[in-house]
Structure formats: C-alpha cells, structure tokens
Symmetry: C2
Subunit: 461 residues, 2 copies
C-alpha cells in the first residue's frame, strides 16, 4: 500500500533522489530492481522522471520496464520531446498496442509524432472505425476544440431509462478513462441535455433520463479556439464539454484535465510574448535554440531603440550646453516604459480572460489617462522638486516634471490602444506589445524632455 | 428548453445585449419581466451580468428577483466587490438562508466579507457543528489548502461494501455539489484509498470498497500552499484532493473548479508582480485605486533610474566632447533591459511551475551566460558595424559593440540570480524583479559604455 502525502515541499527533493536511483539501476543493468522501483511509482511521477533523464538510452530503458497497462498512460504524460525519442525506438506492433490502449485524443497526438509511412502502417492494423476516428482527429488544428477533443463519450437517446444510461457508462468505463457525464441526444445526435454521474446515482429506478437531466447544455463546435474553450470550463465549472459539428451533431468531448494544461499554456504564452520571447521557452532548452528564439526580438528592439536614440541626435547642441540633460532624459524614458508595461499587463490579461472587448475602449482609455495624469502629477512634482534641490536649476526642474507628465500620458495612450487594436484585428494582443510600447515611450520621453529643454533654453537660457 | 451553443464568438455580443435588456427592465421597475428574463439564464451568466452592471441598486434588483435555490450559487460566483455590495443590503435572516444552502468553503468566503457582529449573528443561528466547521475554515489563510477546502466529502470505512458507499454518495449529493470521489479511511480517519464514481458504477454488487479502490492517494495538509495544490491537480489529473491535518487525519477536500481559478490567479499574479503592479488589478478598477497600486512601483523605479542617471553625471566631460555618446548609451541600456526581462520571464515561470529549484542554479547560469554571449556577439557586431558606417568613428563603434556584450552578460547574471535568490529565501521570485533587473542593466549599460568610451578617448581621442 502506497500512501503519498505530497505535503510541505518534500516533493522536489524526493523526485531528485528517485531520479538518481533510477539512473543508477538502469545504467548498471539491474533490470529486475529497476522494474520494481518503477512499478511502485504513480504513472505521473514516472513520466516526470523520464522527462528529467538526460540520456536517451536511459529514458528508453526506464520506459521499457513499464507494465503493458501503464506504458501507454506514461507515454501520453511525458513531454513531446521525450515522447518523440521513445517512439523512435518502438516497433510498429508495439506502437499499435499503445494506440489501442489510449483514448483517441492521446492516440492522435502520439501518431502526429510518427513519420507518415510508419503512421500509415500503425493505422492499417487498427479496426476500421477507430482508424477513421483517429485520422479525423488528426486533421483538426491543435489549438481548437477539435484538436483537444476525444471521440469516446457516453450518450443515450432521450427517453432511455436511468438503468440504460448506467449500463452504457459501465461498458464504456472499462476501456475509456474519465467518464464524467452522459450526454442525452435525439436521433440526429443533437444535444438535448446532460447528466452527471452523481445525478445518475441519485436518480430513482425506472426514471427516464429526460426527467433528471440538466437541459442547459454548454457546447462548442470543432473550430472553437482553445482559449475560449478554457474560459467556458472556468466560467461554468465544467468537467467535460461536448463538441459538435457546425450543424450541431455531437462528435466528441473535451475533459477538464486537458483544459488545465491549456490554461497554463495560454498564461505562459501571453507572458512570453509580452516580454518578447515569441514562444514559450522550456527552462532547460538548449542555448542555441534559446538564442534563435530571443535574437529576433532583441534585433527588433535594437532597431526601435536606435530610432529613439536618433531623436537624441537632433538635440546634440542642447546636450553640449547642458550635459546633465543626458542623465535626466533617461529618467523620463524609463518611467514612461515602466508605466506603459503596467497598463499593458492589465490590458493583455483582461483581453485573454475575455473581460474586455473593443466596446470598452473608450472607458478604458479614460481610466488609463486619468491614472497616467494622477501618477504624472505626483511623480512629476516629486522629481521636479528633487531635481531643483539637487541641481539648483529651475528650468531643468520644470522641464523634468512636465516631460514626465507628458510621457505618462503617452504610455497610457499607446499601452491601451496597441493591444486593443491588435485584438480588433484578430491578432494576438500580447505579441511583442512591450517592445512597441517601450519604443514609443523612449522616443516620446527623449523628445519631450529635450524639446522642452531647448525651447526653454532659447527663451530663458 | 434552453440549448446554449457557446460557439464561435457570439458570446461577448450576446452578453452585451442581455446586459442592456436587464438594466432596462430593472430601471423601469418591470419586476415580473426581469424575473422571467433572469430565470432563463445559467447562474454563471447571471453572475457575469451582475458584475458588469455599474449601479449598485440595479445589481441588487437583479439579485433580488433570483429564485431562492439559485441565489446562493450566483452569490458565490460574482466577484468579491459585487458580493460585498449585495451582502450589505441583505438581512441577517436572508444571509443565514444563503449560508445554509452553500458548500462550507463558499460559506466561509461569504462570511469573511460580513462585518464581525453581523457574522456572529448569522453563525449563532446555524446548527452548532456547521457553525464550528465554517469558523474553522475561516481561520485558514486564503492561499493555503485549508483556505480552499470544503469540509463536506464522502468517506467510508475500509471494509464497507460498494452499496454502502453508493448510499453515502446518494445522501450527500442531495445537499452537496460536485461529489467526484469517495475516500476510504480507517478508524482514525487516515486515508487508505480513493474511489471515483465511475469505479463505483463499475463495481460488482457485494464487493468491498477495498477490492476496487485506488490505493495511491495523493493528499496535502491544510498548510500546503495553493500554488503547490494547483500543480498536484495538474500533474496527477485530479478532480478532487483530500486535505488532512498534520497527523494525517482527513479534514476536507478541494475540488477542481476552485483550482482552475487558482491557476488563473497565480499566472496573473506572477504576471502582475513581474511588471511592477504588485497585485493583480481588476480591469475596471477605479482610477484612484489603480493609482494607489501602481504609484509605489513607479516611485521605486524613479529612485533606481535616478541612481543610473547619476552614473551618467560622472561622465559629463565625455558627453560634452562627444554628444553622440548620449544617444548611443541609451541603446546599450535598453538592450540589456530587454534581454534581462526575457531571462526573467523564463525563470519566473519555471520557478512557479516547479520546474527548477536552487540545485539547478549552476546549470541555468551557464545556459543564460552562453545565451547572453551568443546574442551579445551577434548584436554587438551588428550594432558596432552599423554604428561605424553611420558615424565613421571606429572608437565609438568598438565601444558600442563591447558595451552591448558586457550588458548582455550582466543581464543574464542578474536576471538568473535575483529570482533564484528570492526563491531560496522563500520570497516570491516575481515581486518587482523586473524593476531591479532593469535598474542593474541601466546602471551597468551606462557605466560600461561611457567608461569604455572615456578610457578610449584618453588613449586615442
């Protein structure tokens, strides 16, 4: 009996110890001990350990000692790079057995990693209807409801009894994991209602499913975006979501465990794009791949900062008469950038969570301008007064305060409008927005400060 | 019969129309029509609409026409600000009825919003054991397993039959929502196993729960952090997670719907902290609250940028002889900041998802330094060569390229070490890390560029 208490923080250390032990056993060829050590672990732990093993042949050895009923699950849980490496070393027959044991969504994900000819050979040996279903699933884009769904679900016709529904669940649960609901459909497979397993257990004998089912069914079509799918699960507290064709006929369902991964993925994606990483970067990615991913955004940033720097070039005369200006202009630019990224963060999350759309543009713009004004007056005064006492130059102090205020307003404007515009053009509002926003605030910050200063110098200098 | 197909994008527009309609009906006092319009909606939609209504008295009116069996659910689904406003206008008796209808975790969250005396009056009218359970839940910090759990769960003693387990589920499901599992315990309430409802339906009559239960039980103690709880749900594909006291006795359970909210919350929190917002800011927050939240970080940024600006002050002589330097130094600082935020994003997500710990520090540092070196050589060469052709000054070009390389390495170093250090001190690695990292890259960028330049000028100038 294994009771696993994953409490207070021991988790990471324990996995570390297990990893060392498994690698030792595999490297020294003690297959029997390795097999026993692996059998004592939860499949999710085995998957995590296989991901953490560096050498491919050790990954393969650990996977090789798994019991036949556990191996498919583990293979569906490891990360795609590990999966690809393990799959390369399996025969067509082994892969076919694994595909047969998996739910159709996991089977489709697995086959997508296998080169065309081998995939055909695997599919050819499967029962016809299963093969057709898996091939259909492989055609949907990965980030849509079709790409997330599996074609196994429990459904009964309206008018069936509760006992008939229970019988269907019983038959299905022997081969399919995670049955949470029974869908009630008409003869054209259109959804009429849904029943949870708890409702099935609660129902009295002889009742029809129509009498106990929930008639408010939330569903999506195969082409719905995964971000919208995730938000529906969140809003309606769903465990599974039926997916239909464009005409409303039931094709499959998405389960909550896949959506939890989507939620993490979408959040990390917004996060990464906003800070100019493009795609999410795995933490232990190779330096070369990391460079390839980060370099384009840094290059873009080099172009935009060179543009703002060329604004400074226009005011070389001013800087030569007052070298202190070169120092203070950087404060104005940095503050604008910081305020812009704050606004941007609120906007990008709000858009991702579906809390705002283009109709809110005016209200948001007003809020952000008021916030920019408030922060600008407060910090403009502080910086201006501090500047006066440090350098005893009234003109410089006034210019610093004014330029800060202007740059906060620019930050509010561009950091609200850029994501709203991208969103209304159906582009991702997070894509490199921060690069563009800081480009604007740098440029306007330098221009406002040096511009005010040269005007001021020409009148009072 | 209401079939809701939430497919392709109509969602936001439709809610917009519904909002206008409800506000019209409420404002014109057509209570009967309002009541019918609200009754046709899903509770989650009603909650979303109440959140979107601006005027408090209209919020209250819409809530007031809800059926008594729906009102508690809606109240548990609205955002805390709406909840607080609605609760202010309800009597102690009304609140007591709502508390009785809610699961204990939602009841505790609701009572936390009620001022002390009224809360005592509500609790005094509840059955003794329920009142004690809710008060106990209110004592756990909100971001721990104790703060997330509810004290209603289905449990049977080892040795019970499957029929007895079904009977317990049936009794409980009449009053408690979301029963996903039955926990199997010994006489001291220690966990021995767990059964899903599907397993219960699959089991043969007369079998004992010991024969069918899953013996690998994942559990946490009341003090486990909510971020760790969310990661366990994600890793092990859980629907509910038992929570024990420090000695291992079962106290309650956490359900997946609460964890989905935690996942969003934690991602938004990291996101917000990283960009210097401190806490997550609701998109339609009042400008005054938004200013209060953002001002401290902008103030801190003002201090750090003033420090970097004072570095520039050290080189006033250099800038006066070569005003172009003032322009080019900003490129070096901005590039370092950008590279630092890229590294920081990877680090903060990796730490939040539990993918890295302090033991990986060396490997990460090496990776980041290699990446910094690669990007630095590539972009340092580009910038140096471009600088040479634009300005025909070999010294300036060499200094620009070198300073860029140095600043990329500084960015890699500080953006890896600051979050790792914060994490090992058990502080949140996301807190304002970007403010500190950009402070370092600004300071080092200015210093490296202007420093190299003045040394160069004194030898070759």
């Amino acid at each position: 009996m294994t009771i696993m208490n994953a409490g207070v923080d021991g988790g990471a250390d324990r996995q570390e110890n297990r990893l060392d032990r498994l690698v030792d056993l595999a490297a020294s060829g003690r297959d029997q001990d390795l097999s026993e050590a692996v059998a004592a672990l939860h499949p999710a732990d085995v998957a995590e350990l296989i991901d953490a093993i560096e050498r491919v042949e050790i990954k393969g050895k650990v996977f090789g000692v798994l019991a036949p009923d556990v191996a498919p699950t583990v293979l569906s849980l490891v990360t795609p790079p590990s999966r690809e490496r393990i799959v390369q070393h399996l025969s067509v027959d082994q892969l076919r057995q694994i595909v047969l044991a998996l739910d159709s969504d996991d089977a489709a994900d697995l086959l997508a990693l296998v080169p065309g000819e081998r995939a055909q050979a695997i599919l050819a040996g499967l029962p016809g209807p299963l093969s057709a279903r898996i091939q259909q699933l492989m055609r949907y884009p990965a980030d849509t409801a079709g790409g997330l769904m599996q074609s196994e679900y429990a459904a009964v016709l309206a008018g069936a009894t509760v006992e008939e529904a229970v019988e269907i669940v019983r038959t299905l649960a022997e081969t399919v994991s995670d049955i949470h609901n029974v869908f009630v459909v008409d003869h054209r497979f259109h959804l009429l209602g849904v029943l949870s397993l708890a409702q099935l257990i609660l129902a009295r004998a002889g009742q029809t499913v129509d009498a106990v089912m929930d008639r408010q069914v939330i569903s999506v079509t195969v082409s719905t975006d995964q971000e919208e799918v995730a938000q529906l699960f969140r809003k309606y507290d769903l465990l599974s979501l039926p997916v239909t064709d464009p005409r409303g006929a039931l094709l499959g369902r998405i389960t909550i465990d896949d959506v939890v991964d989507v939620l993490e993925e979408e959040a990390s994606e917004d996060f990464s794009k906003l800070s100019g990483l493009g795609q999410e970067e795995p933490i232990f990615d190779s330096p070369l791949r990391a460079i390839r991913r980060r370099l384009p955004w840094l290059g873009l940033n080099l172009v935009t900062t060179s543009l703002s720097a060329s604004v400074i070039g226009l005011f070389q005369g001013t800087i030569q008469t007052m070298a202190l200006a070169a120092a203070l202009m950087t404060i104005v630019a940095a503050q604008g950038g910081n305020a812009g990224v704050q606004t941007l963060t609120v906007m990008v999350r709000g858009l991702a969570l579906g809390q705002i759309t283009a109709v809110h543009a005016r209200a948001i713009l007003i809020k952000e301008l008021v916030v920019g004004c408030g922060n600008g007056i407060a910090l403009g005064l502080v910086a201006g007064i501090a500047g006066y006492f440090l350098h005893r130059q009234a003109l410089l102090a006034v210019v610093l305060g004014l330029a800060l205020l202007v740059n906060y307003l620019v930050a509010a404007l561009v950091a609200s409008l850029i994501p709203l515009t991208l969103h209304s053009l159906r582009a991702d509002p997070a894509v490199a927005s921060s690069v563009f926003v800081t480009a604007c605030t740098d440029l306007c910050g330098f221009f406002a400060f040096l511009g005010f200063l040269s005007v001021g110098l020409s009148y009072f200098g």
